[in-house]
């Protein structure tokens, strides 16, 4: 799966799964809350039945009114009676913070039931009865709710995976078709470009002919085509390309690549300043390193002014290429790193250069920054940060 496909897939998947999860969480919470209310309601009914029993006993006590009145206490129910002024008369406990206007309420792990009395047997107008809440059915309900969420989560994750694949299928097909086209095109490019470059070199070396300037132009054009071929092949094969990580002298490689671009530099009559520290070595795939350096140099040359400056700095900390070129608008800096996006169309190219640079930088955990002043200069920095 390509990174763009993966991105689209994960975006769809996270939106789908996130919204489904929120919906189910909400539904489960409402269900749990309602069921818990029902459980508490049942336990309140038990309290109400006991309150009725106590009321009957109070009525009997009020009738007999013997010297000693035995309060109808029955374990596990605690109860107390209050007069109409809400003053405590008697009981097996003295509850605190009574909510007089509630039929029942919870306080910590106890359930309280308020039972109004009339007539006022033994002067009592309120009977408060309490019992420890039976947590078992509530715990079971919670377990059931979590289990339901888990099962629903697994089911909708699987469904999401299936839907996600269906969702990205058309995009995948388009990308595959495009890649196939690039593959076929680049394949057809390779042989003629190689032939042109070999023969230019041969003419330049063996024959002392006129028209050196024209030959150089052909060489530049052919090298540009060659790089495009290399870049397109790199992008096409990037996700399944087998890398050979080896210790590469970046210093030597950079010098070679500058030499490779020499014809192009000369044609633009650029003033090149080099500060290349020797012995900079990294464990990197050679093709990755070439693509990184080539694309940075190529852009710096291509988008430079004629007779402009080109400053190349390499040290153990970073690699900087600075030109006195066209510059990039501030709002375009982030956009140009996307594939096929170009801030300036005055020069040839597909807009894949910065995409390749970004991929290499990401793969090796380097840091990549572009600083540009529009119409003045552009500085590209690769920070060799691990």
């Amino acid at each position: 799966m390509l990174s763009s496909e993966r991105r689209s897939f994960f975006r769809f998947f996270s939106i789908y799964l996130g919204s489904t999860f929120i919906l189910f969480l909400l539904a489960t919470f409402i269900f749990y809350d309602y069921q818990k209310y029902q459980i508490i309601e049942i336990q309140n009914t038990e309290l109400n039945i006991e309150a009725e029993r106590i009321t009957q006993r109070l009525r009997q006590l009020n009738q007999t009114f013997t010297q000693e009145l035995t309060y109808p206490y029955k374990n596990p129910f605690d109860s107390a009676i209050y007069n109409i002024d809400k003053e405590y008369i008697f009981g097996s406990f003295t509850p605190k913070n009574i909510l007089w206007d509630k039929e029942y309420y919870q306080d910590e792990n106890k359930l309280y039931h308020m039972h109004p009395l009339y007539p006022y047997y033994l002067g009592a107008s309120h009977l408060i009865i309490s019992k420890e809440i039976n947590q078992e059915p509530i715990d079971n309900l919670l377990k059931m709710s979590i289990l339901f969420l888990l099962i629903a989560g697994i089911f909708f994750t699987l469904l999401g995976l299936l839907l996600g694949r269906l969702f990205i299928a058309p995009m995948k097909e388009s990308i595959e078709r495009m890649n196939k086209f690039i593959e076929d095109t680049t394949h057809e490019f390779n042989t003629p470009i190689s032939t042109i470059l070999t023969n230019i070199e041969l003419i330049d070396t063996v024959y002392d002919c006129e028209g050196k300037q024209e030959l150089k132009r052909i060489e530049i054009a052919s090298k540009t085509l060659s790089r495009l071929y290399e870049d397109l092949t790199y992008l096409k094969l990037n996700h399944n390309y087998h890398r050979e990580i080896e210790s590469i002298s970046i210093s030597n490689l950079l010098e070679n690549r500058i030499e490779y671009f020499n014809t192009l530099i000369e044609s633009k009559e650029l003033k090149v300043t080099q500060q290349i520290e020797q012995g900079i070595v990294f464990d990197i795939d050679k093709n990755d390193a070439i693509r990184l350096i080539d694309n940075i140099l190529s852009n710096a040359i291509k988008y430079n002014q004629k007779e402009g400056n080109l400053e190349i700095i390499l040290n153990s900390k970073n690699f900087i290429v600075r030109n006195s070129g066209l510059g990039i608008r501030k709002e375009d800096i982030n956009l140009i790193q996307n594939r096929f996006k170009r801030a300036n169309t005055s020069e040839g190219g597909f807009g894949i250069g910065l995409d390749i640079i970004s991929q290499v930088v990401e793969r090796y955990n380097f840091k990549f920054t572009i600083n540009s002043i529009y119409n003045k200069s552009t500085e590209v920095e690769i920070l060799w940060k691990k």
Binding site: N62, F65, T66, Q67, E68, L69, T70, Y71, P72, Y73, N83, I84, D85, E87, I89, F90, S92, P119, Y120, Y121, L122, G123, A124, S125
Partner: protein, 118 residues
């Protein structure tokens, strides 16, 4: 049937009140002397007040008003009660003495003192 209940309650009350040795003098003189003599159940009256008014403050207010100006219509007892017992005459007590007597009466019958846990 109602008469039978009232009778048995009166007898029960009389026995209780008679057997209670700790009856305060003020109640004995101002209340129970007549109540015992005429077999009028003072404890039953207290219970009826309790059933209707719930708190000692409200009972006292109502009882005070009744004792100052006793009438069948304002009595806590049912009309049938007066078929058996005579209508009460107004007490010859000043307000302070009457108030004090009611306080002692309510204290004497106070339900809080009677209630115990099993």
């Amino acid at each position: 049937m109602e008469k039978v209940i009232i009778k048995s309650l009166l007898i029960g009350t009389f026995i209780i009140t008679s057997s209670n040795a700790e009856v305060p003098t003020i109640i004995q003189n101002n209340c129970l002397a007549c109540h015992t003599k005429q077999k009028i159940p003072s404890e039953l009256i207290y219970r009826r007040y309790l059933l209707k008014y719930s708190t000692n403050e409200k009972i006292k207010e109502s009882l005070f008003g009744y004792l100052k100006n006793p009438k069948k219509e304002t009595s806590i007892m049912p009309k049938q009660f007066f078929l058996k017992f005579p209508e009460k005459a107004a007490l010859d007590l000043n307000d302070t003495a009457l108030s004090e007597s009611i306080d002692v009466y309510l204290e004497y019958f106070d339900v809080k003192k009677k209630l115990v846990l099993p």
